[in-house]
Symmetry: C2
Subunit: 207 residues, 2 copies
Amino acid sequence: MLVPRYVDKDERRRQVAAALHRIAAREGLDNVSIRTVAAEAGLSAGAVQRDFGTKDALLHFALREALAGVERRFSEVRVGPGRLSFADGLRTALLDLLPTDEQRLAETRVWSAFYARAAVDPGFADVLAELDARSREALRAAVGWAEEEGELAPGQDLDALVELLMVLVDGIWLSAVRLPRDASLDGLRAAVDAAVAAVTAGGPHRG
Amino acid sequence: MLVPRYVDKDERRRQVAAALHRIAAREGLDNVSIRTVAAEAGLSAGAVQRDFGTKDALLHFALREALAGVERRFSEVRVGPGRLSFADGLRTALLDLLPTDEQRLAETRVWSAFYARAAVDPGFADVLAELDARSREALRAAVGWAEEEGELAPGQDLDALVELLMVLVDGIWLSAVRLPRDASLDGLRAAVDAAVAAVTAGGPHRG
DNA sequence: GTCGTATCGATACAAGTGTATCGATTGGAG
DNA sequence: CTCCAATCGATACACTTGTATCGATACGAC
């Protein structure tokens, strides 16, 4: 008897989150309101209000949706035996952060908005901390494998290297997101190459 | 006859900007309004309105004030003949980005808020682009000097190295700003050391 | 002293906000 | 078909926002 009626609620929640992402990317989180999001999603404000209850819940849902997108993208870069070398995988993953198309640029702007909010709202910081933890774990595995393969300069502190890579990830997209729309990304591409070279220099794979 | 009357307007503008910085650091740019800033500064809303005219002008002034603070801090790290080595200077500058006290943490949060806005508002992006240009120039000089001193691994692309350092700067403070208040900064310190080592490895100063 | 004016705090106003609540609608259960 | 509950769009409400404008005030010139 208590079956859902007409619409797929989860699907609509996802569409509302997508609408929020579009507004956040275009005008910033400041211009995200229940009404503007509803309009962007082609719904009535009441619908959004009913689906999420509170604006904070809406923002949290949208944040998790955005994070899921990032993790999906990142998980596609497989590094390991029989796959990409550590250097190539790292380069691919870092270059993949650059806003080379409209979609990617929008994503980056959304992150930027949420990160700023996380600096001030612990609820959002916690969600990002979970993402950090998972990223760190993945990087730790990749670095450990690279070490075994002899791709790293000997004597490196692996934990420190992981932290450095985390920093690089943040630095790259943050540097990219504030570039003028017509600016070249070549400088950042060069930086990625330099980073990969600096980190893997000295190993037998060098050159 | 047209002499200023009672108060030092420039001084008060700076105090208002400081009040804005406090609010932005504590609650984010969302909670910055002419009224809240005026209250934080101990002024009437009318005073702030008169001094800045529009809220956008107020924000731009506050952004430039914040940037001046950063540049003042950075310019204190002198690298060159008879001063710090490139490696030590770089390490000092990067470690100096970490929010080791309340004041520094507040500054970082303010940057974070303004950077998010710059991703969406070209007016703010332009101001940050000026800062980038000056930073790039300073880094270029330091890297050039390091090269002459043989502190760098041979055969490095200096322009790429400069871009990498720019990315590192952004990555470090962005990684730091979203850590829980009681979190240790040791991981980031280790990342800084790893970065300095990776960038300067191979030179005669090594070890 | 008196005058003139720059500056003061306060108020007015239209717009937009989050949220609570409404009666109408609608489609499945019986 | 009839009923009923879930869902709909719309409205109400109390706030906050940016900005324009006000008469009062208080100092400098004379």
